[in-house]
């Protein structure tokens, strides 16, 4: 069982991922609606796995990823991306993202990804 934090500016995406994880052994310990909040919450909650949206207001997912990796170089961050964000996904990978999923994704996709990192 892993502690998961969901970072997405869209409440819809957060609730969707949360619902998908309901049936898994993993526990959603926190959510954040932008990168800045995500970094704050990361420090406090120390989740095992983070799903990180890329396009967000205030602080985007890439910047948050970098900050989190500087706090904990072995943090498990899965980027939540969409077609058209290739350049940013690439940069995320170079900055230590453990992988990425592409919207729209299915329940088994995100569960498999989290299971793998758990």
């Amino acid at each position: 069982m892993s502690k998961v934090m969901i970072v997405d500016d869209a409440a819809f995406m957060r609730i969707t991922i949360k619902n998908m994880l309901k049936k898994s052994p993993h526990e959603v310990v926190g959510e954040a609606e932008n990168g800045r909040v995500a970094v704050e919450r990361y420090k406090a909650l120390r989740p095992d796995i983070i799903t990180m949206d890329i396009t967000m207001p205030e602080m985007d997912g890439l910047t948050a990823l970098k900050e989190i990796m500087s706090i904990n170089p072995s943090a498990n961050v899965i980027m939540v991306s969409a077609m058209g964000q290739e350049a940013m996904v690439r940069e995320a990978i170079m900055n230590g993202a453990k992988g990425f999923i592409v919207k729209p994704f299915k329940e088994d996709g995100i569960l498999a990804a989290i299971d793998k990192l758990a």
Partner: protein, 678 residues
């Protein structure tokens, strides 16, 4: 996807919120005739979010349309758009927003989302082409930046050293895992720490067709490393969405090993320095949003309604407890002081609940901006809409009731009030018309004024029409301007028969007045020929709890708002007489007032008919003061106003005089009198 109700609700809510804020941005931007880079970012981000959420919900049309706009704004973000293209861009985004709104509304009412966006798609495609062919503007472009990122993404083969063993790794990804080239890149990246030198097939993972090639053939990764093969397997295995992989030793001189890697071995040239340098650089995509909304939660209005209702019941129950007849006349000091405290707390609770329900009129006002924009375009008029006091807060219910009357009045102003350019020029007015929408509060009321600088109401035309319809009895000369103007509020005056896209149901001003009076408000207007017209709407800030006097007529219970009552007395039979037309009149304090017998007006059986056995009340309404005759006065109450069930209008030949109803603590239903329609 398995969609549950809460996700659907959040999807609808969030999409609507996004669209609303987007509309605000667009309308603001339209005044400037362009969007600044923050706004462009916002449009991009909103479309990105809608695209993602809609794709998850499998709303293909929504997601595709959002995607195509995202693409367009991604282009604009990087390369800008010439000034001349902005009007078209605005139109396109507005059209898309309208489409989104429509579809979401359908979703909300559980109707099929069958909108056809193909027209908008096409226009967006054409627009994007035009933008691409337009001479590029000198915008501090992100093109360089993204090029840099791309450069950084190239796999830079490390200098091969000595004769470390070589491995050939083959990875195949799960079907439909998407961006397979980047997944392969991820594998290479995670091997980087342990490998001395890498190369891939396909060689350039950034190439356009790299992903397709990997889907077809998998990706080959060649590395030279001193690391234990088990460790390599472990690293590769950690890759997400991996379907299968293999790690086999291979000679570096093997033909299968890409030439680049073999050659590197020979000259040992390190090209990676440059790309490493850019690794450290952050792409500056940070989108700055100044307003933090974290301190707000959104609550379903129904919950607030329930809360308010309960508070209303508490208020009623409280008065029943405190005024309970069981106490008799004996003094009960400690009870009184406890009751006093309870009363204070309940009042505070009531204030808080009322306050929670208060929202600024800005969203409503912004809607009008949209309306004026669309209508002005349609009628080919230039009209500015000025909004004043958008931050004024009123009860949520008031907003709902205010919406239709505002729409109607503004439609009238645009359609009939503001003249076309030529006429305005001839009249020596600026060619652009102006409508001002203003809200402010005065103690217990909110006052909304809508003024235009159009041609104003024409007294003689109104009189002519009113005569045709037989709506006036006085002679023209006897009537003041105000009286003449108020004729347009009479039922049957409005003659606009045609139903246009904007006028919709073709309701007249009488309906506007009826709507506003339903919530205890009033409307009046001022107009000066050639200068314009001003509508003044006055509505109580909160309309859900009122102080009222309770009385009955036969078995029917009524509440009349205390503010409308001037006095209630036992009638003095000598002061009641009939005027020459046979109407009953009451002489009170040297004034004469018409007398209305409620048992006749409401057609109640079993009511008191003898004047000496009942009571009369002097009522003051917007237009006149008059007396009503009823059976028995029952004291003063605070009540929660409930609207009448709409089916009730099928149950009665006339509900004039009734504005709503209230349930008292004993469960009895009381009808609330609307003094303006008596």
């Amino acid at each position: 996807m398995n969609v549950d109700e809460s996700m659907l609700e959040v999807y609808i809510y969030e999409t609507q919120q996004l669209l609303e804020s987007l509309e605000d941005t667009l309308l603001r931007g339209e005044n400037e005739k362009r969007l600044d880079s923050d706004d462009i970012n916002e449009v991009f981000r909103v479309m990105h979010t809608i695209k993602g959420a809609s794709a998850m919900m499998e709303f293909e049309n929504m997601s595709k349309l959002a995607h195509s706009l995202e693409d367009m704004f991604s282009f604009i973000r990087e390369f800008g758009a010439p000034q001349s293209e902005w009007p078209n861009i605005f139109d396109l985004v507005f059209a898309a927003v309208a489409f989104f709104n429509n579809e979401v509304a359908k979703l909300q009412s559980k109707a099929p989302m069958d909108g056809d966006a193909s027209g908008i798609f096409e226009r967006i495609a054409v627009q994007l082409e035009r933008l691409k062919n337009a001479p590029s503007e000198d915008v501090p472009s992100k093109a360089n930046e993204s090029a840099q990122v791309k450069g950084a993404g190239n796999i830079a083969p490390e200098t091969p050293r000595s004769d470390a063993p070589c491995y050939k790794i083959k990875v195949v990804f799960q079907e439909n895992s998407q961006m397979e080239n980047l997944r392969a890149f991820g594998v290479v990246q995670s091997l980087k720490n342990v490998s001395l030198c890498t190369a891939t097939v396909p060689a350039d993972l950034n190439a356009e067709n790299a992903a397709q090639e990997i889907v077809r053939n998998g990706c080959l990764i060649f590395i030279q490393t001193n690391e234990n093969p088990d460790r390599i397997k472990e690293i590769v295995e950690g890759t997400l969405f991996l379907k299968s992989y293999s790690v086999v030793p291979i000679e570096i001189d093997d033909e299968e090993v890409p030439e680049t890697m073999r050659r590197k071995k020979d000259n040992g040239h390190d090209e990676s320095a440059q790309s490493k340098a850019s690794n450290g650089q952050t792409s500056d995509n940070t989108i700055v949003e100044t307003v933090s909304k974290q301190n707000f939660i959104s609550v379903n209005v129904n919950k607030l309604d329930t809360l308010l209702n309960i508070v209303g019941e508490i208020v009623t129950a409280q008065s029943m407890v405190i005024n309970n007849a069981d106490f008799g006349d004996a003094p009960h000091d400690s009870f009184d002081s406890a009751a006093q405290q309870l009363h204070a707390l309940i009042n505070e609770l009531q204030d808080i609940v009322m306050n929670i329900r208060m929202i600024p009129v800005s969203t409503l006002f912004q809607k009008m901006r949209r309306l004026v924009r669309d209508m002005a375009k349609k009628f080919d008029k230039d009209i500015d809409l000025e909004l004043i006091g958008e931050e004024t807060e009123v009860d949520k219910n008031v907003i709902d009731y205010l919406s239709d009357p505002l729409l109607h009045i503004i439609r009238n102003s645009v359609d009939h009030g503001i003249e076309d350019r030529e006429t305005r020029k001839k009249a020596g007015k600026p060619p652009r018309g102006k409508i001002t929408l203003e809200a402010h509060t005065t103690g217990s009321d909110v006052i909304v004024t809508i003024s235009d600088d159009g041609k104003g109401l024409q007294r003689d035309k109104i009189l002519k029409k009113a005569h045709e319809k037989g709506l006036i009895s006085k002679t023209d000369e006897e009537m003041t301007d105000k009286e003449v103007f108020s004729l347009i509020f009479l039922p049957g005056f409005s003659t606009k028969d045609e139903v246009t896209e904007f006028s919709g149901r073709g309701v007249g001003m009488d309906v506007v007045r009826k709507n506003i009076s339903l919530i205890g408000g009033s409307i009046s207007l001022e107009s000066e020929p050639g200068k314009g017209t001003t509508h003044i709407i006055r509505i109580p800030l909160t309309l859900t709890i009122i102080d009222g006097m309770k009385f009955n007529v036969g078995a029917m219970n009524f509440i009349v708002p205390t503010v409308s009552v001037r006095s209630a007395i036992q009638p003095d039979l000598n002061s009641i007489f009939k005027d020459p037309d046979g109407n009953e009149m009451v002489l009170l304090q040297e004034n004469c007032y018409p007398l209305l017998r409620l048992n006749q007006f409401f057609n109640v059986e079993g009511g008191v008919t003898e004047l000496s056995e009942g009571m009369i009340m002097l009522i003051t309404s917007e237009e006149k003061d008059f007396c009503i005759f009823f059976d028995h006065l029952d004291g003063e109450y605070q009540v929660v106003v409930k609207s009448l069930p709409s089916y009730l209008k099928h149950c009665s030949s006339s509900l004039d005089g009734i504005g709503g109803c209230a349930i008292l603590g004993d469960g009895s239903i009381n009808l609330i009198i609307d003094v303006n329609s008596l």
